[in-house]
C-alpha cells in the first residue's frame, strides 16, 4: 500500500517548473469555466424569471361607481387614484383607517376611480410571507366581486385583524379564506388562495411599479403626499370640479 502510494506520488514531485505552470493554468482554466458556466446559467434563469414577472405585469384592482366623472367624450376617468399598499405595513393600516371612509365616499360619488395595488413589500419568512399571501387573497376576492374586495380590504386593515409587523402569529391561508367568505365570496377563492395564483405578480409589484415605500398614493400617475382627508378632498375637487356630495371628508369612527 505504502509502496503504491509512493509510486503514484512520484510524478507529482518530478514535475518541472514548466509542467507545474501548465498544471496551474489547467486548474485555473477549468475552474473559471465551471464558475462562468454556473454564473451564466443562474443569471439566465433569474433574468428570464424576472421577465415573466414583468410580463404578468402590475395589475390593479379598479374600484369605481356608475356615477364616475369621465373626461369629455371618453370613458377615461378624470381622476385615477392609485394606492400601493401592503396588508402588513402599520402605516398602511393607519392610512386606511384614517382615509378609507373618505376614499370610499369619493368612489361612491363618482369623483375618482381607485386603483388598488396590493403588494408583498414586507413579505419575509419570519412573518410567514403574510404580505404576499394576503395580497394574493385580495386579488382572488376581486376576481369574484369588487364589492367583496372593498369589504375584505377594509376588514384586513381593522385593528383586530391586521397582525403586528413584529408579531409572531399571522393569519394563515385558511383564515384568509374565512375572511373572504365573511366579505361575501367563496367561489374559486379557496383554491386561488391555496394555489397562490397571484403570488409572483404581487411579489413583483414593488419592482414593476417602482415604489419605495407603502402606502404610496398617486393621483393620475403623480406621487401625492397625503396629509389629511380634507386636503385630499380639496385636491380631488381641483381635478374633477364640483361633484354632488364631494364637499366633506368623512371622519373615521373613533376606535
Amino acid at each position: 500500500m505504502a509502496d503504491k502510494a509512493a509510486k503514484s506520488n512520484r510524478p507529482k514531485y518530478d514535475l518541472n517548473a514548466a509542467s507545474r505552470r501548465r498544471d496551474l493554468l489547467v486548474r485555473i482554466g477549468l475552474t473559471s469555466i465551471v464558475v462562468l458556466f454556473a454564473v451564466a446559467l443562474v443569471g439566465y434563469i433569474v433574468m428570464s424569471h424576472d421577465k415573466k414577472v414583468a410580463a404578468s405585469g402590475a395589475r390593479a384592482i379598479r374600484v369605481t361607481s356608475s356615477k364616475l366623472v369621465v373626461k369629455d367624450g371618453t370613458h377615461d376617468p378624470k381622476a385615477v387614484v392609485a394606492f400601493y399598499e401592503d396588508f402588513l405595513c402599520p402605516a398602511c393600516g393607519n392610512f386606511e383607517r384614517g382615509f378609507g371612509p373618505t376614499v370610499s365616499k369619493l368612489i361612491d360619488n363618482g369623483a375618482i376611480a381607485a386603483d388598488y395595488y396590493m403588494t408583498g413589500f414586507l413579505s419575509r419568512p419570519q412573518n410567514q410571507d403574510y404580505s404576499s399571501r394576503a395580497a394574493n387573497a385580495a386579488y382572488c376576492v376581486a376576481d369574484e366581486s369588487i364589492d367583496a374586495f372593498r369589504r375584505f380590504h377594509t376588514a384586513l386593515y381593522t385593528k383586530d385583524i391586521q397582525p403586528s409587523e413584529t408579531g409572531t402569529s399571522f393569519p394563515d391561508n385558511a383564515k384568509l379564506t374565512e375572511l373572504a367568505r365573511e366579505a361575501g365570496v367563496v367561489g374559486k377563492v379557496p383554491q386561488c388562495v391555496k394555489d397562490g395564483k397571484y403570488l409572483p405578480m404581487v411579489d413583483g409589484l414593488v419592482v414593476s411599479a417602482g415604489i419605495h415605500a407603502t402606502p404610496t398614493v398617486r393621483i393620475n400617475g403623480q406621487d401625492y403626499e397625503f396629509s389629511t382627508p380634507e386636503a385630499f378632498v380639496d385636491k380631488i375637487k381641483g381635478i374633477v370640479g364640483d361633484v354632488p356630495g364631494i364637499d366633506s371628508a368623512v371622519t373615521p369612527p373613533a376606535s
Binding site: A5, V34, V42, Q126
Partner: protein, 212 residues
C-alpha cells in the same frame, strides 16, 4: 489509507522534519490574515451587540439597506445559538488562529497533531458557519456584512489548515483522493464560494433588481 497515514505521525517520512509540518510562507501569512480579519469582525459584532443592549434604538454601522443589515440579524435567536452571542466564540477562536499565524510566520515548528487539532476546530467552525448561512438566507432573510467576513475567512482557513495537516506536502504519503483533493483545493473552494454567492443573488433577487 488516509486514516492510517494520519494515525502514525511519528512514521519516518520523506521530508527532513518528521514531527513538524512544513508551512509555506504564503500559508503562514494567510493564517495570520484570517485570524486578524476574523478577530476584527467578531470584536465589531460583539461591540455592536453591546451597543444594542445599552440602547435598543441604536442603529448598527452595518445597517445599509433592508437586505444588508446586521441589526435585524444580531437580535435573532440564531445569533445566540448557544445562549450567548456567537461573536464571543469568534473572539476566542480567532485569537487562537491569530497566535497560530504569528507562530508560523515566525517559523516556529508546530507538531502535526497541532495542525490536525486546528483542522478539527476549523471544521466545526465551518459547519457552524454553514448553518448560519442557511439561517441567514432562508429564515432571517437578511445579510450581515461582518458575519459574511467570518463566513469567507472560516471556509478559506479550513482549506489552508487542512492542507497543512493532511496535504501531501505534510508527510509525503497519502492516497490518490487526498492528493487530488489537495491539488484542486482552491478550485473546490472557488466553486463553493461561487455557489454561496449565487444562492445569495437568487434569494434576494427581488431586492437587487431594484438597484440595477
Amino acid at each position: 489509507m488516509t486514516a492510517t497515514a494520519a494515525a502514525k505521525p511519528d512514521e519516518p517520512a520523506d521530508n527532513s522534519s518528521p514531527q513538524a509540518s512544513a508551512v509555506s510562507s504564503a500559508g503562514a501569512w494567510s493564517i495570520l490574515l484570517a485570524g486578524v480579519l476574523g478577530l476584527v469582525a467578531s470584536a465589531t459584532l460583539t461591540i455592536e451587540k453591546i451597543e444594542i443592549l445599552i440602547n435598543p434604538a441604536y442603529v448598527p454601522s452595518c445597517n445599509l439597506n433592508p437586505v444588508v443589515a446586521c441589526g435585524s440579524v444580531m437580535t435573532t435567536p440564531q445569533a445566540s445559538a448557544f445562549g450567548f452571542p456567537n461573536s464571543l466564540i469568534g473572539i476566542v477562536a480567532f485569537a487562537v488562529v491569530t497566535v497560530t499565524g504569528v507562530l508560523t510566520v515566525a517559523k516556529v515548528p508546530l507538531p502535526r497533531w497541532y495542525w490536525v487539532g486546528m483542522t478539527i476546530g476549523t471544521l466545526l467552525g465551518a459547519a457552524f458557519v454553514h448553518w448560519l448561512i442557511v439561517q441567514s438566507l432562508y429564515r432571517i432573510g437578511a445579510l450581515c456584512p461582518y458575519c459574511m467576513v467570518v463566513w469567507v475567512v472560516t471556509i478559506s482557513l479550513l482549506v489552508v489548515v487542512a492542507s497543512i495537516a493532511f496535504g501531501p506536502a505534510g508527510d509525503g504519503t497519502g492516497g490518490v483522493v487526498v492528493r487530488e483533493l489537495h491539488r484542486w483545493r482552491w478550485s473546490i473552494a472557488t466553486i463553493w464560494f461561487t455557489a454561496v454567492f449565487l444562492l445569495i443573488v437568487v434569494r434576494f433577487w427581488d431586492y437587487w433588481s431594484t438597484l440595477i
